[in-house]
């Protein structure tokens, strides 16, 4: 190959290289990434309700440690209050969520062996004795993490359902904490005797930010 050919190839290579990099002051290949926001991220509450199967999805922003989020399966509505304002609880609600903790409104919960919510069709196969009521707790509802690095937390006194809260295990003994979902379906018997089946499907939003819960549900369960 002659020097002239070499020179031509080199010129093209160099020119391409210079153009490639210089035109991209703030970087290359934006297209390989996805957008941070999607429609789902802005739609909170009861979404994707299928009337025929009585099933749907609840999407909750539970990223705050200072709020209780109240879900009402009867009216398919959500509400929230500050943890400190326990007197301002809504008049009607079925379960409440604080970050990943859960409690019921005088209800009871059982963890099924099923990981498929469509496979749980009735609460009647479970006896009353295996349902678990809420307990009063002083060391579960974390409201201040500023001493977390030393394994110390500030807690709020509250009712707490230890079974339903198993839907996500957060191990804070190490930094960063580790997260593991049970993947199980939980059956909740409300105080009026109606039942719901719920399964935590995700605890992150579409951008991977933690504290956003996607919950599959069937309500009413026994019809």
């Amino acid at each position: 190959m002659t020097d002239m050919k070499y020179t031509r190839i080199l010129n093209i290579t160099l020119l391409s290289g210079v153009m490639f990099f210089l035109v991209s002051c703030n970087g290359l290949f934006d297209d390989i990434y996805d957008g941070a926001n999607s429609q789902d991220d802005t739609r909170y509450g009861f979404i994707n309700r299928d009337v025929q199967t009585s099933s749907g999805t609840v999407y909750v922003n539970a990223s705050s440690y200072s709020k209780w989020i109240f879900l009402d399966f009867h009216t398919l509505t959500i509400d929230s209050t500050e943890v400190a304002d326990s007197v301002k609880e809504p008049a009607q609600w079925d379960i409440a969520i604080h970050h990943y903790d859960a409690r019921t409104n005088s209800g009871q919960v059982i963890e099924t062996a099923s990981t498929d919510i469509d496979g749980v069709v009735s609460s009647k196969e479970y006896s009353d004795s295996v349902f678990t009521k809420d307990i009063w707790t002083t060391d579960n509802i974390i409201v201040d993490l500023s001493q977390m690095i030393y394994g110390k937390f500030k807690y709020a006194d509250s009712y707490y359902n230890a079974v339903l809260s198993r839907w996500l295990r957060v191990d804070t003994r190490t930094m960063p904490p580790s997260y593991s979902m049970s993947g199980r379906v939980y059956v909740i018997r409300m105080k009026d005797g109606t039942c719901a089946a719920v399964k935590l499907d995700n605890y992150m939003n579409t951008a991977g930010v933690k504290g956003y819960l996607t919950i599959y549900y069937i309500y009413p369960l026994d019809v």
């Binding site: 080199l10 160099l14 990099f21 993490l145 997260y179 579409t206």
Partner: protein
């Protein structure tokens, strides 16, 4: 230890006298003749460099068989400790200087991005590396910001044969896999070297409790290519490109991803034998993203893009005096999840430098340098100086140097506004001053027959070191400048080599840190560290081997630790235990071009009782094996 030493001697006694140990001795002599560039930015024979430089050769890299730069440096250089920080990001301590104060270069070029305190060390692929040059001490008069505690320059291989090809693979414990392929061509005007490396390791559940309970699974891909076109005796052009990808399984539902795209063009024109000009342009983009497994979303939340241009002119006069003048312009763009609303900031930096390296007499060499840096966002300017002397007194080389170092506050440190997992906020500080260091060093080396001795003492006065501290009015952490502190120490090195193929090396580092009374000393720099290596290397016509035992010792250290993150008023003493780790490896050279490596790492089964962030991440003794095939050698 004694057992292994005796074993090596016994093996040596049974080896045939037909073996060729001369090759080994020659290599050691050649090492002193190695051309190094980092200390002076111009090619300089290692033995004649007025700036003390430690070189880790390709041969040593092959014998150590490390995948991660941290593993290699810790095994060879005392005073270097790689630890974990938040989210298992890797952080460095080099004799009292954190990673942000140690400048890492790839073929002399800066790297974009940071993990916590420095570049992403996983980018520093050790496959296809010609040598690594380590210069301890400040070097800002040549390299500007970050060269406070030292410079580590990774030099890639060039193709020296008409064609070359290498394929290598290594398997280790916990599903560790490493694959590498290199191909080179050197024909006429063209010299090209391409390399691909892939690594993969499974999650490692640690044996005991600690600051962390497992090591996340990790995989990397690393591509790089460098093309050198020699147009004629006067002009050569270099083009390079690289791509890096790393994925870390922090959670089952989401993975952390890291990517880098880099490229560069460089032209070198030699006007006469005395004058040459280098023009260079470099691009480096380092991205971080979170990959959400469920919906396959890959969301970028960090991007650091650096464009830089450099001019460097070297003029040699009076036979042995070299004047180097040059300057750089860099555009530094940073988009980060740690800024308000994932915002971005851009900064321009400008610098100009001049250096003269002159051999005044046959015994005395002097180097002096001056550099001015300006940072647009920090509105910071800095003049850095250096003066080094080397005097040859018989077989002893005496070196004495003063050098200034500085580190300008980064965009992150100036503009951070970050909610740390609802634990606390971290705020940047636009009024930060540059961290500076005045470095004084004195060294002597003595080489006679089979032995080398080297002793270095250094003293650093460090001002305005940048750190974070609790701010009561903000109710959060804020970047601040620390009180002045002093970092001093000693480095000693002894090595011996014998014609029978036996070689030993022992290096020791002592580090002393002092901060004025009443101020906490929170860095956990271990005062005493040592590395040791003994090897027996023999080579015949179609077979050779190198059996080596290497180890490192890190002393215990007691550091101040704040009793609370939200109150910096009280501290408590925290002691980290001492430990040593040993590795036995056997490299066998089969036929021509096939190297088989087997290694037992953590030979004496050390397991930390509690895994602190600075504990070795080991569960005990592990075995690894690998093969490297130089295909061109095999065919020839």
């Amino acid at each position: 230890m004694k057992t292994y030493y005796l074993m090596l001697l016994m093996v040596g006694g049974f080896i045939s006298a037909n073996a060729d140990p001369i090759d080994k001795m020659t290599r050691d002599t050649v090492l002193l003749q190695t051309v190094v560039v980092t200390g002076t930015r111009t090619p300089k024979i290692l033995g004649n460099s007025p700036i003390s430089t430690r070189v880790i050769t390709a041969d040593e890299i092959k014998k150590i068989d490390a995948t991660h730069i941290g593993e290699l440096l810790q095994q060879e250089i005392p005073g270097i400790e790689f630890s974990y920080s938040m989210n298992q990001q890797v952080s460095l301590n080099m004799q009292g200087f954190g990673g942000s104060s140690v400048l890492f270069l790839q073929d002399g070029e800066r790297m974009a991005g940071e993990t916590l305190d420095n570049v992403d060390y996983y980018r520093l692929n050790l496959d296809n590396v010609e040598r690594i040059e380590i210069v301890k001490g400040a070097a800002s008069s040549l390299y500007g910001s970050n060269a406070v505690g030292g410079v580590i320059n990774i030099i890639s291989k060039k193709s020296s044969k008409a064609w070359s090809a290498n394929a290598n693979v290594r398997f280790g414990a916990y599903g560790e896999q490493r694959y590498g392929v290199s191909a080179g061509i050197n024909s006429g005007h063209i010299n090209n070297m391409a390399n691909v490396q892939h690594t993969d390791v499974d999650e490692i559940k640690l044996k005991h409790s600690g600051d962390y309970s497992k090591i996340f699974a990790n995989r990397t891909w690393n591509f790089k290519d460098r093309l050198i076109y020699t147009y004629n005796d006067k002009l050569n052009l270099t083009a390079r490109a690289g791509y890096f990808f790393r994925e870390c399984d922090m959670l089952a539902e989401a993975k952390n991803r890291y990517r880098d795209f880099c490229g560069g063009l460089k032209g070198n024109y030699t006007f006469t034998r005395k004058d040459n000009l280098e023009l260079a342009y470099a691009f480096d983009q380092y991205d971080k993203s979170d990959y959400v497994v469920k919906n396959h979303n890959d969301i970028r939340d960090y991007s650091n893009v650096q464009h830089s241009a450099r001019v460097l002119f070297n003029h040699t006069f009076d036979k042995d005096k070299t004047l180097s003048v040059g300057g750089d312009v860099m555009r530094d763009y940073l988009m980060s999840y740690q800024f308000t609303d994932n915002g971005n900031k851009t900064q321009y930096t400008y610098d100009a430098f001049a250096q003269i390296d002159a051999q005044l007499t046959s015994k005395l060499d002097v180097i002096a340098g001056l550099r001015y840096d300006y940072y647009s966002k920090a509105k910071s300017n800095r003049l850095s100086t250096k003066l080094g002397l080397m005097y040859k007194l018989g077989l002893v080389n005496l070196r004495m140097a003063y050098s200034g170092g500085f580190r300008a506050p980064t965009l992150k440190e100036m503009y951070m506004n970050f909610n740390m997992a609802n634990i606390f906020m971290i705020y940047g500080n636009e009024k930060l001053k540059s961290e500076t260091s005045d470095n004084f060093s004195l060294s002597a080396d003595y080489r006679r027959q089979n032995y080398d001795f080297e002793l270095t003492g250094f003293y650093n006065l460090v001002s305005n070191r940048i750190t974070t501290a609790w701010n009561q009015s903000l109710k959060g952490m804020k970047y601040i400048n620390m009180a002045d502190m002093k970092v001093a120490g000693i480095n000693a090195n002894v090595s011996a080599r014998y014609a029978c193929g036996l070689r030993a090396r022992m290096s020791y580092a002592y580090t002393y840190e002092h901060i004025k009374s009443g101020e906490p000393l929170v860095s956990a720099t271990r005062p005493h560290t040592a590395t040791m290596r003994i090897e027996y290397d023999r080579k015949w016509k179609n077979y050779g081997f190198c059996l080596s035992l290497s180890g490192r010792y890190l002393s215990r250290v007691t550091a101040d630790e704040y009793t609370s993150y939200t109150s910096y008023e009280t501290t408590e003493k925290k002691t980290y235990t001492d430990y040593s780790i040993w590795k036995l490896s056997l490299l066998q050279r089969v036929c021509h071009g096939i190297d088989v490596t087997m290694a037992v790492d953590n030979l004496f089964n050390y397991v930390p009782g509690y895994y602190y962030n600075n504990s070795p991440t080991t569960r005990g003794t592990v075995f690894s094996a690998g093969v490297s095939i130089d295909i061109d050698e095999l065919i020839r």
